[in-house]
Symmetry: C2
Subunit: 501 residues, 2 copies
């Protein structure tokens, strides 16, 4: 019986994989004039996925498994397939089409508005996106998928989490971080980050990034590295998981940590069980768990002293013109480390440091809850954005491009997405502490460039579960406790104390 | 009413475009371990196309247009959609699946057998492919799509042509070429082709190839050039048509003429009418017409003296180490030209010169007709292959890898495909003569590097028609006469006479 379910799901999986390949191609390979035709092809594939998910034959196949699941995995497959079917069925076809068309148009409008720093040009499309998103959320609520609009939206990215769970957790993180960041700024200490500069040819940075990603365990025979405007990871199967990056020829950090971040995502995708590939239970469980993997490698490994004890000579080999390579051998790691742990409020989320990053998320979480809750009009959003930045980060955007227009998410109708970034940051620290406790000598392993123990622990405790455990259960099983901000705050407090006294 | 037909066809077109993108990715980008999952995704997409083509709703929509077409274009859309539906419906699902699975397996077996030069290892799969192909052909005949098995197969690639039309035409070409090739060999004249060598860095060759393709009119903003094991062209829409190439660092010819060949294909795809994109009538009409476009640019333009009067200084600029660049300026074109018109029987079709190429096709045409006609057993094919090469080309393969295993076509179940190459060669010459007559001073235009007149003529007389005319009608309308071998033979005789006396 499960076989019939998985056979029908195979078409959904194939269409999704094909869409993912087309998406990767669009970002990394497609010639510019190909965009309109690609948009039509992607929209048609999305329509076909919707048709497959709402096909009565799939409903029957799920019901048959639900009635008498052969085993736990079968029950999970049915549960996850049922969830996808219910979400697809909840949205009327007209609304789905209107949403797809509006998103497609809004993406173009947003891109142009951002380039022109013209917030008014994007307002009408954003208002329409919000209106349709509310309709969609209402449809989910009406179908019994969630109790509130915002919960219905969060459920798309982070099943198992609700606004009532997120608000206190993210609120606590915000409230603990705000004074830490303010104190760091008030300290007057300015970290010398010139050590991250030097002569940094892109091909040398790429070679070093590839070297590090391979050492992390990223399998280049089941993946590849390309350049794109915004780095991302996409997996079509555990055997084909691709990452992208973008270098800054004046600063080592964006390129290297971008690659480590995406390789962290990719290790998760490459570690998903091959025997579940193309089934509902075979996918990554949530965006938060995904982000925990990228952040763990980027921040907990990549910015650690232990890692750099091993990595520094390799950096010097690969990028001999790096400023840090000009220092005496014994001074290099200590000179670099503070530059990897600056606390500096800035306007752009994707460039934010570890401490301020979650304040950027807090701004968005607050604003999108008010938008979805009907407490904030789209017309008032730009001002509210600037005010909230000033309140939480102490700085005020001077342009919409560096303010409310900076992210693509809302233009895509992705409300309820941003909190997953903070969940990922918190989970990264909690998982890393659990791994360190289990492995005993993780610091020594990192300092020896032995990253296999850590990867093995993640494979066993995170990757191999795919979606057979939901995200809260997965974190609790892996770490022995539900997700909290404790480990993350310990990590931030320790690092900030060391740099800013 | 046509709207309903085109809407339903939109899913077929989207699935086909997605499959084409995945195919391009597989040949140019995909990491090696991605192959099995890609195979499953491609098979699922093929199944979805089949399901869409056999959906009763499409049948109804076609019937509605057939009953009362709004205009000629609508009638053509219905006719072409009906043909695709009938071909898809004729083949039982079990047979289609068996064919897909066997082809997938046979491709792997063939690749390995070719690498190992082990014809016996491929024999069982090829026998199964032939068996299933016969079943498939019988199904087409039973459905009234063709009168004979071989015609049913040819119809897939070259609708409008039958074995009864092909046999005398290709037979005449073979019979006229055989003594010409024999005489060239017997002349004892050996052309000095070292002029095609020299110091030929791949990046310089690529830059020159891009320069020439752009001058031909290939729009790189609606396409791209990549490397692949076997050069090919693939179009997802007129606005996204990609070509690939492969360089030989000891010989200019494979790289440059490969790019001109593929760019010729690509100009056809980029010239298809955008307003018909994604509809049955919007596609290239046949493989033969496609090949006429590639061969026209590769052979009639690219190997002409006029073209080289313009191109030579640009070659020298781009590839200064080329042997021909070391000659006195006034000697270069005359030194190169004979090396572009050698007649040299060889074992490998894809490396064959213009005169011998169609003899390679003649071998395959004869053997596959006998296989499909039941006059030749798969077990006897290797010997028959070698005998036929000896009879037509005067040389005998010494290995299966250089003999019966060299082409991928039969491993893919593509019987009836090979004759389209010769049709393309004949049509290229006939179209080129017609274009020259219409343009008046084509030679002068080529010598001035003005390729726009020729492209304009092809756009008007070939490309813009897409599939609204069938291939025989298109050639007749463009050239004023049905397709014959006359123009091609005039071209070959003149060139061979000049080089071999």
């Amino acid at each position: 019986m499960t076989e019939q379910l998985l056979t029908l799901w195979g078409d959904v999986a194939a269409l999704s994989a094909a869409s993912a390949v087309l998406g990767w191609d669009q970002e990394t390979q497609m010639p510019p004039k190909g965009l309109p035709a690609r948009g039509r092809t992607m929209a048609a594939l999305a329509g076909l996925v919707h048709a497959k998910l709402t096909d009565p034959a799939l409903d029957d196949a799920i019901a048959a498994v639900e009635a008498a699941p052969a085993d736990d995995v079968a029950a999970t497959q049915a549960r996850l397939a049922r969830r996808a079917v219910r979400r697809a069925s909840a949205v009327p076809a007209d609304l789905a089409r209107a949403m797809a068309e509006t998103q497609s148009r809004a993406l173009g409008t947003w891109q142009q508005a951002k380039a022109d720093d013209d917030v008014a040009a994007f307002a009408p499309d954003l208002a329409e996106i919000v209106r349709l998103t509310l309709e969609q959320a209402d449809a989910y609520v009406a179908a019994g998928l969630a109790d509130t609009r915002y919960d219905a939206l969060v459920d798309e990215y982070e099943p198992g989490w609700t606004e009532a769970m997120l608000a206190p957790l993210l609120g606590a993180v915000r409230d603990e971080l705000t004074p830490i960041v303010a104190a760091a700024v008030d300290s007057g200490i300015v970290v010398d980050t010139s050590v991250c500069g030097g002569v940094l040819p892109v091909d040398q940075q790429e070679a070093f990034g590839r070297f590090v990603a391979a050492r992390m365990g990223y399998d280049f025979d089941a993946g590849r590295l390309d350049t794109s405007a915004h780095p991302f990871t996409t997996g079509f199967a555990p055997t084909d998981v691709r990452i992208t990056w973008r270098a800054d020829d004046g600063d080592l950090r964006p390129g290297l940590f971008g690659i480590m971040h995406e390789a962290g995502h990719a290790l998760y995708e490459q570690g998903l069980p091959v025997d579940l590939a193309g089934t509902p239970a075979g996918e990554a469980v949530s965006l938060g768990v995904h982000e925990s993997q990228s952040r763990l490698w980027e921040n907990l490994v990549g910015r650690s002293r232990s890692f750099w004890r091993w990595a520094m000579p390799h950096l010097v080999d690969h990028v001999p013109g790096a400023a840090v390579a000009q220092l005496p051998v014994g001074d290099r790691v200590d000179a670099l480390w503070p530059a990897l742990h600056t606390v500096q409020p800035s306007l752009i989320r994707v460039e934010a440091d570890e401490a301020t990053y979650n304040l950027h998320i807090a701004v968005r979480f607050e604003l999108e809850r008010r938008l979805i809750g009907g407490e904030l009009d789209v017309g008032d959003l730009p001002g509210a954005w600037d005010d909230t930045y000033e309140a939480l980060l102490g700085i005020r955007p001077t342009s919409a491009a560096d303010g409310v227009l900076q992210d693509i998410h809302w233009a895509m109708g992705a409300f309820g997405y941003f909190p997953t970034y903070t969940l990922g940051n918190l989970a990264a620290s909690q998982l890393f502490e659990a791994a360190a406790a289990a492995l005993g000598d993780l610091d020594d392993q990192l300092a020896a460039g032995d990253l296999e123990g850590l990867l093995g622990w993640l494979r066993t405790n995170v990757h191999r579960h795919a979606s057979t455990l939901d995200a809260p259960a997965l974190i609790e099983q892996a770490t022995g406790a539900p997700l909290t901000a404790d480990a993350f705050m310990r990590h931030i407090r320790a690092d900030v104390a060391e740099v800013y006294g």
